[in-house]
Every structure is written in C-alpha cells, then in structure tokens.
C-alpha cells in the first residue's frame, strides 16, 4: 500500500511541477515580450506548444540513443523532483527519500545533461555536438560556485540533507538567506548558469547553433524535453526555496517564493546578450567563486 | 610624368615582346586597350603582372559577339603603383571555345573560369575544379549565350500558372492610361 501511495503522490508532484514549470515559462515569455515593448503570447502558450508537440503525428529516429536521450533527461528531472521536499510537511507531495541528500542531488541534476548529450550525439548533427561541448564546459563552470555554496551550508549546519537544512531554518527562525548570505549569493549566481537563460544560453543559441542538442528532435522528443525542462526548472526553484528561504508551508507560499527566485535569472537574462563559452566559464570562476570561498570561510568562522 | 607618356612607354614595352593585333590608349578613361590572339594571352598576362606591375586582376568580362561568331574575353588589370589600367582583349571561336587554363597567374581566375565554363561553355584546358558551380543539375546549352532562348526554355521546363497569358507590359499599360507616347529609344524594349 505504501508503494501505491508513493506512486500516486509522485504523479501528483510531477503534475504540479509540470504545471508550475510550464506556467513560469509562459510568464517568462510574457515578461520578455513586455520588456521588448510587445504584447506577447498568452501565459498558457507553453501548454499549447507542448500539446502541439505531443500531437505531432510523425517522427524520425537516428538510432537507439536518440530514444534514450530524452528519457535520461526525464530521469534526471523526475528523480531530482522526488528527492526535494515540496512542502515542509509532505502532505500530498511525499518524498521518495525524505532525507534527500545534497550530494546525491548534485549528481542526479547533472545526469540529464550527460544523457541528453548522448542522445544528441547519436543524431550526427554537428550543431548538437558543438552545443554539447559548450554545455558541458559551462556546467564545469557553474558547478564550482554551486558546490562551494552547498559545502558552506553543510559545514555551517552540520547536515548534508535538504530536510536537515529546512529544519535548521525552522528551529532558528531565520532563513539561511540571512544565516549564510554569501552562500546564497554564490548559489544564485551559479543558478544563472543552471537556468541557461541569457547571457548563458550558449547551449541552444538559436542563431548560432540551430538550438544545439535539440536540433534533430521534434514532436514527441521535444515534448519530453520541454516537460522535463519545465519540471527541472521547478525542481531548481524549489530547491533554492528549501535551502535558502526556509521551504514552504503551503502551496501559495511556495509559488510566491519560487516565482521571486525565478525572476532573478529571467530579469538578468532579458537585458543581457550572450557570452562566448570561455567567457561564461571564466565568469563563473570569477565573482561567484570568490563569494563561494567567502561563504566557506564564513561558515568555518561561524561554527 | 604625363599619363599619356606613361601609357606610351608601357605600350612600347609590350610591343617589344608581343605582336598586338590592335592597341589603343584612352587616356581620359585611364586605360590602355590591347587585343591579342588567345595563344599569346597567358604570356601577356604574365608579362603585365611580373614585368609591368599590373598585379591586380580587377575583373574578367565576357562579350558574346554572335554576329562575328566569337566570344571576347576582357582581362582588366590594375597597377597600384602606376595607377593605370590595361584591358587585354582576346577572341575565341564561338563554335568551339577552347583556351588554356590560366589560374596559376591569379588564383581568382579559377572562379571566373568555372563561371565561364558553365555559363558560356568555354573549355579551359587543364582547369581543375568541381563539376558544378552556379548551375546545379543543368544539362541544357550554356544559358548565357545570346542564342539561348530563356523564355522558351522556361516555358518548356517549368510549369506556368494559367492566368499570365494576358499579362500586360507595365510600361505600355501606364502609357495607355496616361495617354502618352512611347519615346523612340524605349520602343526597342517594348514587347510589341
């Protein structure tokens, strides 16, 4: 029975993540349009796009890995989702492993990129491979400040689990945003790279690379990738809310917090052009890493 | 030095070495026109480039003299030191246009030669280039020759959408509407 409960809860969580991620994506398109002095598509435009992609009636494949690439991506998103406490007290959204471990999560979150990279490689499109090399390089860039922020939190609060960090915030009554501000800054700067919006949209780079790894994928593959990206956006936002903003007691609180967090990469992105790959990598090894080091020093000093 | 004099010395130097069928100086247009046989063309191009300093190949023109039965190639050279131009004209037999490959003198001649080969059917002996350049999938006659009827070809090969038969000449329609006469110089372009 417990298994059934988990599966049912997992499906509900997935649907929530899907809907929220898609809506946020649509909001982003609307915001970008308004900043560019356009009317913009409706907020639900992403649902229409997704359903259209789903209802495409034909597809091509280049071999077995072409099927597996989107599947790997989905694994990464969904399993990460299962590991993150959505609300402070479970409720309708149970976790597979309520002691979600941050290091496990780190690896789970990069798993998708690598799997998708394999799928993109099989298509034989040179643009895909170029996009993949850029994406992996950028990943090495932003993982450094990100792991620094996480290590700082682990040192400061003596736990490596997300729920542990949430409990710490609940007990002390302050958000980690204030308890370890430098870690928050480093993590947020790293998140700019994680979201891959401008100026770090070097992977897709529509005008240069014809959407990079996705260039041979249409219809059902693109639908899978799009849903997975939406879920993943929700995962990242919820993770940030859990780590730094004390998690959420109910859905409204969660939506407000995640939306505010989401605005940081979005608004940073709309006013920026695109970096070159090595510029992006070095950007992450500049100030974000400095903040990461300060965060670790602060954590060591404060314990 | 006077421009005319400089042209004279250049012409004299060319004449020392080559037999020219025709030569003329257009000092006002800043150019020297010489005509040579096609056998001498590579040599004179080389001479102009190496000895006279006309190191820049500006353009290669081609004229289809259908009335004379010849194709005329015009090599336009420029000397950046003298600031003068030399046009070297040579005529090929239109029925069987054959010439030596000359892209070792200027590498960019290769591009011109490929184009002439496709568009005018000139056979450059020893030209090394890919089969197709501008025209892909073409097996008709060289389309830029004047005796190639492009309209008839288009009618034959491509589907024509019905409804264009009564298409009017825009110029005539406008004139008819505004009750004017077609000027004489324009009449030869008219469809009627």
């Amino acid at each position: 029975m417990e298994i059934l409960q988990y599966i049912f809860g997992g499906i509900i969580t997935f649907l929530l993540a899907f809907v929220v991620g898609m809506t946020f994506g649509g909001t982003r398109r609307k915001i970008i349009a308004r900043i560019q002095n356009r009317y913009g598509p409706p907020i639900y435009q992403n649902f229409i796009d997704a359903f259209k992609l789903f209802s495409k009636t034909s597809a091509v494949h280049h071999g077995a890995m072409h099927y597996m690439g989107p599947a790997f991506l989905m694994v990464s998103s969904v399993v990460s989702l299962m590991f993150i406490p959505i609300l402070r007290d479970g409720g309708w959204f149970p976790n597979l492993n309520f002691h979600g471990d941050l290091i496990f999560l780190l690896y789970m979150m990069v798993f998708g990129s690598l799997g998708m990279a394999l799928g993109a490689g099989q298509t034989g499109n040179p643009n895909s491979a170029i996009g993949v090399t850029r994406g992996l390089a950028q990943m090495v860039g932003y993982e450094i400040p990100w792991i620094m922020a996480l290590v700082a939190m682990m040192i400061q609060f003596h736990t490596t689990s997300i729920t542990g960090l949430m409990d710490v915030q609940l007990q002390s009554g302050t958000w980690n945003l204030f308890a370890s501000p430098f870690a928050f800054v480093a993590a947020i700067l790293a998140s700019l790279g994680m979201f891959r919006y401008a100026p770090f949209n070097i992977v897709g780079a529509p005008a240069e690379l014809a959407s990079g790894p996705a260039s041979e994928n249409g219809g059902k593959y693109l639908f899978t990738m799009m849903s997975s990206h939406s879920v993943f956006a929700f995962v990242k936002l919820t993770l940030f809310a859990d780590l730094f903003l004390g998690g959420a007691g109910n859905l409204v609180e969660l939506l407000i917090k995640t939306f505010l967090l989401y605005m940081i990469p979005v608004l940073y992105g709309v006013v920026n052009p695109r970096y070159r790959t090595e510029q992006a990598v070095r950007w992450f090894w500049g100030w974000p890493t400095v903040f990461g080091i300060i965060a670790i020093a602060y954590a060591v000093w404060s314990t | 030095m006077d421009k005319g004099k400089r042209f004279d010395t250049i012409r004299a130097r060319i004449k020392e070495n080559f037999v020219l069928s025709q030569d003329k100086i257009y000092a006002d247009k800043n150019r020297l026109d010489i005509s040579v046989s096609k056998q001498r063309t590579p040599a004179i191009l080389f001479f102009c480039k190496e000895q006279l300093g006309f190191i820049h190949l500006m353009h290669v023109g081609i004229v289809d003299w259908i009335e004379d039965g010849t194709l005329e190639l015009v090599f336009m050279l420029w000397s950046p030191t003298e600031k003068l131009r030399v046009y070297i004209r040579t005529r090929l037999n239109r029925e069987n246009p054959v010439m030596e490959n000359m892209d070792m003198i200027w590498p960019q001649l290769n591009t011109y030669e490929r184009e002439f080969k496709e568009m005018y059917g000139i056979d450059f002996k020893g030209l090394i280039a890919a089969e197709e350049f501008l025209l892909e999938d073409w097996d008709g006659p060289p389309p830029m020759l004047r005796d190639f009827d492009t309209e008839a070809y288009a009618q034959e090969v491509f589907h024509t959408r019905p409804g264009r038969e009564d298409a009017q000449d825009v110029r005539e329609a406008i004139i008819k509407r505004s009750q004017e006469e077609i000027p004489d110089f324009a009449k030869k372009y008219s469809r009627q």
Binding site: A59, V60, M65, P70, V79, T133, V140, E143, T159, V281 | -
Partner: protein, 617 residues
C-alpha cells in the same frame, strides 16, 4: 605442498608451458593460457585459508607467505580482472605476433601481484614487486612503438621507487634484525623519531610511483597508452592498485603513530588532488582514446589517493571501494578501446566515428562503464564518490572537496568525448564494414560492466571484504553499523537508500523510453545520420560532418593557464639544469696546471681571510 606455493608455482609453470606451447598449436596455447589463470584463481577462492602462514628460514633469513583479509580484497580485484582480461586476451591477441611473449609476461605479472599480496616479509615483497615491474616493463615495450621514450620513462621511475623501497627495507632490517612485516609494525612505535619519519616516506615514494601520484606520474600516460590494450586493463585496473595497497598499509599501520602523520597525509592528499585535476584536464585535451583513458586512469587514482590519505574509516572505505570500481570500469573501458582498435585498426577519435550500430555491445559496455566512471547514480561509481565527499566534509577538508568535485565534473567532458568519439556522430563509409568484436572479447567486457551495475545496487558485496580487511589492519568495525541495508550513511545521520533510488530511476527511465518509443510507433521512421537538418544541404557520401577537431576548445581556452606546461617540462628543465651544473663542474677540472695553481692560491687567500672566524677565538 601448501596451496599458496602451489598457486604461485602453477602460475610460473603455466607461464613457461604456455610460452612454449605456441610451437605446436595456437589453440592449445590459448587453452593452456586460460587454464593457467583460472585454475589458480579457483584454487585461491576455494583452498586458501585466511591468516594461514607458511614460512621457511634460509641463511638466517626468515621468509613468510600468507593471506590477510586486507590482501584478500585486493586479490579479488587482481584475479577478477586477471581472469576477465585473460579471456579477452585470447580474442585480442588472435592473429597477432609475439603471442607467446605476451602470455608469458601476462602470467608473470599476475603471479607477481598475487605474490605481493601473499608476502608477509619485505624480501619476498620486494622480489615480487620487481618481477611485477619487469614483466610490465616488457609489456610496455612490446609494441615497439616509441619504446625509447615510454619504456625508459617507466623504467627510470620504477627504479626510483624501487631504490627508495630498498633503502627503507635496509633501514628496517637495521632496526628490527629481521624482514618480517608484522615485526616491523610492532616495533615501529618504539623507533627513533627520525627513522619513524624517514621509513614511511621512503616506502611511500616507492608506492606512489606505481599509484602514479603527481610528481611521479610522468611514466603512466605513455605506458598505459602503448602497452597492448588487453594488458592495460590489468595494468591500470589492478597493477596500479598495488601502490594503493602499500600506501594504505603505510598510512594505517605506521603514520597513525606519528604526530606529524596528519601533515604527511594532508600533503599526499593534496598531491592526489592535484593529480586528479591536472590529469583530468590533460585527458580532456587528448584525441587518442588510449591516451585519454591513460590520463583518466591517473586522474582516478588521484581520487583514490585522496581518500586513503585522509584515512578516516569512511574515507578508507571510499578509497578502496573506488579502487575496486576503477578496476572494473577502467578495465572494461580499456577492453573497449582494444576491441575498437582490433576491429578498425586505429584509436584516433578524429578518424573513427559512428560505430554504435556496428558494435552495439561494445557501446553498451562503454556506456555503462562511462556512467560508472562519471560517478552518476545508480551505478557503483557514485557510491565511491559519495563516500569520498562526505568523508572529506566530515573531516574538515573543505577545499579538497571543491578540488575533487571540480575534477569529477570535468571528467564528464572526457567521458562524453570517449563515447561520442568512437560510437556517436555520423557514420563513415570507411567503417561501413566494421563487425562486432568476437565473443571472447565481448563476454569479459560485459561481465565487468554488469559488475559495475551490481555494485551500484549492492555495494555491500565488496564493502564487506574491504571492511574485514580494514579491521585486520586495526580499524574499528564500521560494517555492521553502516552497510547492512544498502543504505549510505554518514556520521551526521544523513543517508541515501540505494535500492528505491534504483527502482525509481529504472521506472522513470523505462516509462519515458516507452513513451518516446511507442508514441506514433508506426509513423516513426529510421533515418541515417546523413539525413540531418543542415540548412537543407545534403552531405555527400564522402563528406562527414561529425564535429571532432578541437572538441573542447572553448573549455580548454578557459583553463589554458593551468595547462601551459606539462610536468614533463619541469623534469626536462631539471635534467637540463643538472647537465649545466655538471658541465660547470667539469670546467673546474680543466687539466691545466696553472688553473690548479690558481685554485690553490684562492683557497689559501680564503683561508687567510676567514682565519679569524674559523680558527680564532
């Protein structure tokens, strides 16, 4: 006769018989070769008893052989890889020259490694160590390519290690009066402080050479890359672990008694970390699969060194677990390279492309092993990485975590390059007729890959022997506490339960795969890799658009400052500097009487000037 002797003698006899059997029949030779590895392996797992010592005394020197739980763990790795690679070798060496030479050296190497693990005294340890070095040296130069450069490098560094070790053994004998390892460990705490520091350092130098720790790693990339691939899987997978074996013993039994032990450990851990980073970056820059894996081996050994140098129980478990995993996946990966080399004749990424449809099983092996290498859950590689990070954080090595994590993330780059280089990308006409590798090569490869999956789900299979070994070295028992239910724990009480994760991953993966596969199944058509959206352009048959040259150029540009000079450069400069000094000294002895007279005068003047200081009051 004792079974330990029997095993060693079987190997030796097997080596000689196999080498000569080639004269009669190639098939007989292959059969004998496999038997010569498997029979001792079976004997080892069925007959050898733990902690049973056999020894004899000749000329006042007492020698002992025996098996401890700790060496038992390494013996599992050696024999597993040894048998797998032996079966693979039969396929790999089929139709190649100098088969007898190869088989002979292969068996000698395995024997020497087992001998090292059996040795309970320093003399036999050293003798087996040298046999191992020599046999592997002969393998390195076997191909005859770049023998001078590669072979001499390996030889010189092995010699440095061996001399250091020999010196330590002489010192030990001077202290204890015999060569028994256990005696030395017992008397170590009562030694003079200078000796207490000197002996472990000399031993560590000897072991670091084999474990390819940073300043001593120069030999490794070349030697791994240029020996036959079937041997390299043992070379990199098992032989390099002999260095780890020795290091762990030194760390645990000797350095833990020293007040300065922590410092030495930290230095070695940082050396390991630098090895991991630099070797990973160099691996990314390689265009040859063999060299890529060779650098990657050095880098992975770097993690293991970090872990064993930190030396908390969890780090030790992590290091040894990673050592085992590294044997499995790197062995399989070198086998993959060997298979590709055998079927296509080259290992250059820029030449070979699009083999996935030609060699699907080889690709599957490579995929699983690469996922394990990258440390991605749910495969075994992740468990080692998880324990490494947790133990580093718990033992306050914060910067080491960052460095280790950096090189682990950068490892994705070469991991992807490896898979993409051989198997993905556009198919090339030249490789249209490539066939899958023969079955004798596939089975060991796939077996090792299955091992990687198995250890991801049931790490206790190998954590239990590791734990037993560590207990025998004097660690407290952490097995019962930590590993009973496939749950990863740390001391703060955070945990990862492995099996539900695996089910979840498999469930989501299969669901999504089924969706992408069955949705519009009938209207999904296969198109070749030439049929891609390249602005409507049609690549002709001879045009291959696969992106291979300067693969990670943007990343390498970003890390350019670190990679300007290889370590080789420092050694070369050091050599050049020495030469200059020698040149200068040679000039002093000019052979001219007047010059010598001048020296004498200068000496006297200096003497007079310093008179007051030297001989004065």
């Amino acid at each position: 006769m004792n079974v330990i002797f029997l095993i060693l003698i079987l190997f030796l006899v097997g080596a000689i018989v196999t080498a000569f059997a080639g004269k009669w029949s190639s098939l007989l030779q292959d059969g004998l070769f496999i038997l010569a590895v498997t029979i001792p392996a079976v004997l080892f797992f069925t007959q050898v008893e733990m902690n049973q010592l056999v020894g004899w005394t000749r000329g006042g020197i007492h020698l002992e052989l025996g098996l401890t739980p700790f060496s038992y763990f390494f013996a599992i790795l050696v024999l597993l890889l040894g048998v797998a690679s032996a079966i693979y070798s039969v396929g790999f060496m089929h139709g190649k020259a100098r088969k007898s030479y190869y088989y002979f050296n292969y068996l000698l190497t395995i024997m020497a490694m087992l001998g090292i693990l059996f040795s309970r005294d320093f003399i036999s340890f050293f003798v087996f160590w040298e046999i191992m070095t020599w046999a592997s040296y002969l393998m390195v130069v076997m191909n005859g390519t770049r023998t001078q450069e590669i072979g001499i490098k390996y030889f010189v560094f092995s010699a440095i290690g061996a001399y250091a070790m020999l010196m330590a053994i002489v010192l030990i004998h001077a202290q204890t009066g015999n060569f028994l390892i256990q005696d030395f460990i017992d008397t170590y705490p009562s030694l003079a402080h200078g000796r207490q520091i000197l002996i472990p350092i000399l031993l560590l130098v000897g072991f670091s050479v084999k474990a390819a720790v940073m300043p001593l790693h120069v030999w490794a990339p070349g030697s791994y890359a240029y020996s036959p691939m079937s041997f390299t899987s043992v070379f990199s997978g098992a032989l390099s672990k002999m260095g780890i074996y020795g290091m762990v013993i030194v760390f645990v039994t000797l350095l833990s008694h020293l007040p300065e032990g922590g410092l030495i450990r930290d230095i070695i851990a940082w050396m390991g970390a630098m090895t991991a980073v630099i070797a990973t970056l160099w691996a990314i820059a390689q265009d040859d699969a063999r060299k890529l894996l060779a650098y990657s081996s050095v880098g992975q050994l770097g993690y293991i060194v970090i872990a064993v140098a930190i030396g908390t129980p969890m780090a030790m478990l992590a290091g040894l677990f990673m050592a085992f995993m590294h044997g499995l996946f790197k062995g399989a990966l070198f086998m993959v390279v060997g298979a590709v080399e055998k079927q296509t004749g080259t290992t250059d990424f820029t030449k070979v492309t699009g083999l996935i449809r030609k060699m699907p099983w080889t690709f599957l092996t490579a995929l699983i092993s690469i996922i394990a290498l990258a440390g991605i859950p749910p495969l075994g590689g992740f468990i080692g990485k998880w324990m490494l990070y947790e133990s580093l954080i718990l033992s306050d090595h914060y910067l080491l975590v960052i460095v280790a994590f950096f090189s682990s993330t950068a490892a994705f780059l070469y991991a992807y390059k490896f898979l993409f280089g051989f198997f993905l990308g556009q198919e090339e006409e030249e490789w249209a007729d490539v066939k899958e590798a023969p079955i004798t090569m596939l089975i060991p490869m796939l077996a090792l890959a299955v091992g990687s999956i198995l250890l991801g789900a049931f790490p206790q299979l190998i954590l239990k022997p590791i734990n037993n070994g560590l207990i025998s070295l004097g660690f407290s028992d952490s097995y019962g506490k930590l590993w009973e239910t496939s749950t990863l724990f740390n001391e703060w009480g955070d945990k990862v339960v492995l099996q539900p994760i695996i089910y979840a991953i498999m469930g989501v993966f299969l669901t999504t795969l089924a969706f992408t596969y069955f949705r519009n199944r009938k209207r999904t058509r296969y198109v070749s890799t030439k049929d891609i959206s390249t602005s409507g352009e049609i690549p002709l048959a001879h045009e291959n658009l696969t992106f291979k040259e300067n693969f990670f150029q943007p990343f390498l540009r970003a890390v350019e400052p670190v990679m300007k000079k290889q370590i080789d450069w420092y050694y070369r400069e050091f050599g050049a500097g020495l030469e200059a000094i020698f040149n200068f000294t040679r000039r002093i002895y000019s052979g001219n009487g007047q010059t010598y007279a001048l020296y004498a005068v200068i000496f006297l003047i200096v003497l007079l000037l310093l008179n007051g200081n030297l001989f004065g009051q």
